[in-house]
């Protein structure tokens, strides 16, 4: 860091201004979340008679317990479980099928390999939002509405991860595969004993990104989970607002919003290095 300690860094007043600017920015980013947290710790009366307090109240346990056990349409604990299954299912499913097909593309010659490669490439272009209506029909025909398979399968039908693993496998020295072949090791043996352990960091980084992607899905669960018991937490929040003129149960809704943020935020902050790596890699 010594060479960064040059003449262009501000000192004294300038340094404080820099910190001040950053703190203002952070305050702007934190404020909505702070307010949601405060709202999740007070009573409904404190909120519906504005202005609401800006410091937490004493209803933290009461509100969160109410949200988790009864919620509005379905207990939030059920929605948390649904989100967890969906996010982990998407992350693991996509990583598994992508590892296998990237291995096949890089380490084998087989008929249709080029065609397969280009088909995969096409899927990079189309987010699920573009093909929602027909995809919905497919899921309905399979009887997969309100099911975990229905939540997971359409979202692993893309090849971003295949590309990442292909790129990574290309950097693995040829000598390793050569040695394995000379030793008479079967391809799958090479895959499990050498390639997979070498890919550990990439897999973990990708898991972080895909977990957040799956957890934060909104439109897809909104379409296919009509049963409140199958709602994911991120899409379930909006369902907690009453239709018409009734007043929303703000403390429970805000408690649910915070609960919806905690798992992905923990993943990002806890695995910051992997996360940054995964982000940069997956956008290359």
């Amino acid at each position: 860091m010594a060479e960064r300690n040059g003449m262009v860094e501000r000192r004294g007043a300038g340094l404080w201004l820099t910190h001040l600017g950053l703190i203002v920015g952070i305050a702007f980013i934190f404020f909505p979340i702070w307010l949601a947290f405060v709202a999740s710790t007070v009573e409904q009366q404190d909120i519906v008679r504005p202005p609401m307090p800006l410091l937490p109240g004493d209803q933290f346990f009461a509100n969160y317990a109410r949200a988790l056990t009864s919620g509005v349409n379905a207990p939030v604990s059920t929605m948390l479980l649904n989100s967890l299954v969906m996010a982990v299912g998407i992350a693991l499913g996509k990583i598994a099928i992508s590892l296998l097909s990237a291995f096949a593309i890089v380490y084998f010659r087989f008929p249709g390999r080029r065609l397969f490669f280009w088909l995969i490439f096409l899927t990079l272009m189309l987010p699920v939002e573009v093909r929602i209506v027909p995809t919905y029909e497919v899921i309905a025909n399979f009887g997969m509405l309100n099911s975990y398979q229905g939540l997971i399968l359409p979202l692993i039908a893309s090849a971003t991860a295949t590309f990442l693993f292909r790129q990574f496998f290309m950097t693995v020295p040829d000598e390793l595969a050569e040695a394995a072949r000379v030793d008479g090791a079967k391809p799958m043996r090479f895959f499990f004993d050498i390639l997979l352990p070498m890919s550990r960091t990439n897999i973990a980084a990708l898991f972080v990104i895909l977990f957040i992607y799956g957890w934060n899905q909104y439109l897809w669960p909104l379409l296919i989970t009509t049963d409140p018991e199958m709602n994911t937490i991120v899409m379930g929040i909006k369902q907690m607002f009453p239709s018409g003129d009734d007043i929303a149960d703000w403390p429970v809704i805000m408690a649910t919003s915070l609960l919806a943020m905690v798992p992905p935020v923990l993943v990002v902050v806890g695995m910051q290095r992997l996360f940054v790596r995964g982000l940069v890699e997956s956008e290359k």
Partner: protein, 293 residues
């Protein structure tokens, strides 16, 4: 690029790619094909049969006042979201980059809103600006400003833009900070010795050197505001008032699922598809260029 060493066998690799082939065929290519196919038909009023209309759905869309309005809305929305989130992120990244110590702490503090789902961000901002109980609404009222995004189109747009940009700041901040830290200090110090002040240095050296990052973020943010902001719009405004915040993706949803107009919705999907493909091509072209930068 090819590997020198290949394993033998034909059935094993086919077996390995089979899961991905099956899933993408059923859940990707078939629905995408259906979208294109359906866009050429209109269902009869009883939903019993489909009538071939060729490009009729597209002609109708392009002459439809609401669809054209949605195009303009999408353009305004995505430009605003991109400019606001990239602007704030660049400002914070430049500040963090000036610090010798502590930029890591700020990075940790700024990184995590990335994990907040757009739909959750929507609920948070809706709560602050709620017409009945919102804190910001109340304080604005004290200042004599009557905030009502349920009725006022401009305010509705402003709110969905802020909520969408807010969650995007951390992503842009990360890439800008990485870009800034990759600029050699010696170049900047040389300019400083020549007497260039901060703003001059930024304008003539830092910003041009940062342009690959900026361009990349521009494309990525536009794609983001096209698609992933659906949750924000749906939670805050549901496209209203008077369709003032109905962006293209929202219209695909509201025409297809709420209005049950499958032909039109499919045609809209195809148009969106073309736009995304175009953006992706731009992005790939650019990335190829970056390799030689």
């Amino acid at each position: 690029m090819e590997k020198r060493v290949k394993f033998k066998g034909i059935w094993l690799p086919i077996l390995l790619v089979l899961p991905q082939i099956l899933i993408t065929a059923v859940f990707f290519f078939y629905p995408a094909g259906q979208a294109i196919w359906q866009s050429l038909f209109i269902p009869d009023p009883f939903g019993l049969s489909m009538q071939w209309v060729g490009l009729g759905n597209f002609e109708f869309l392009l002459s439809d006042r609401y669809y054209r309005a949605s195009f303009v809305t999408t353009a305004v929305f995505s430009i605003l979201v991109t400019v606001v989130s990239m602007g704030v992120a660049l400002y914070l990244a430049v500040l963090a980059d000036r610090l010798v110590r502590g930029s890591g702490t700020y990075r940790t503090l700024l990184i995590w809103p990335y994990a907040v789902a757009p739909a959750v961000a929507g609920v948070l901002w809706l709560f602050m600006f709620n017409t009945r109980v919102g804190v910001v609404t109340w304080y604005l009222g004290l200042l004599g400003y009557d905030w009502n995004h349920v009725l006022n189109e401009g305010e509705a747009m402003g709110l969905v833009v802020i909520a969408s940009a807010w969650g995007r700041i951390s992503y842009n901040f990360l890439f800008f900070l990485a870009g800034l830290q990759a600029i050699p200090r010696s170049v900047i110090e040389a300019a400083a010795i020549d007497g260039a002040h901060f703003w001059t240095r930024f304008r003539t050296i830092v910003f041009p050197l940062l342009s690959p990052t900026t361009f990349f973020l521009l494309v990525v943010n536009i794609i983001y505001s096209f698609f992933e902001t659906f949750g924000v719009i749906h939670t805050i405004t549901s496209g209203g008032p008077q369709q003032a915040t109905t962006i293209l993706v929202y219209k695909v949803y509201s025409d297809g699922f709420v209005g049950q107009d499958l032909g039109s919705s499919a045609a809209q999907s195809v148009i969106l598809l073309a736009i995304v493909s175009l953006l992706t091509v731009v992005q790939f072209k650019y990335i190829e260029r970056r390799v030689h930068y």
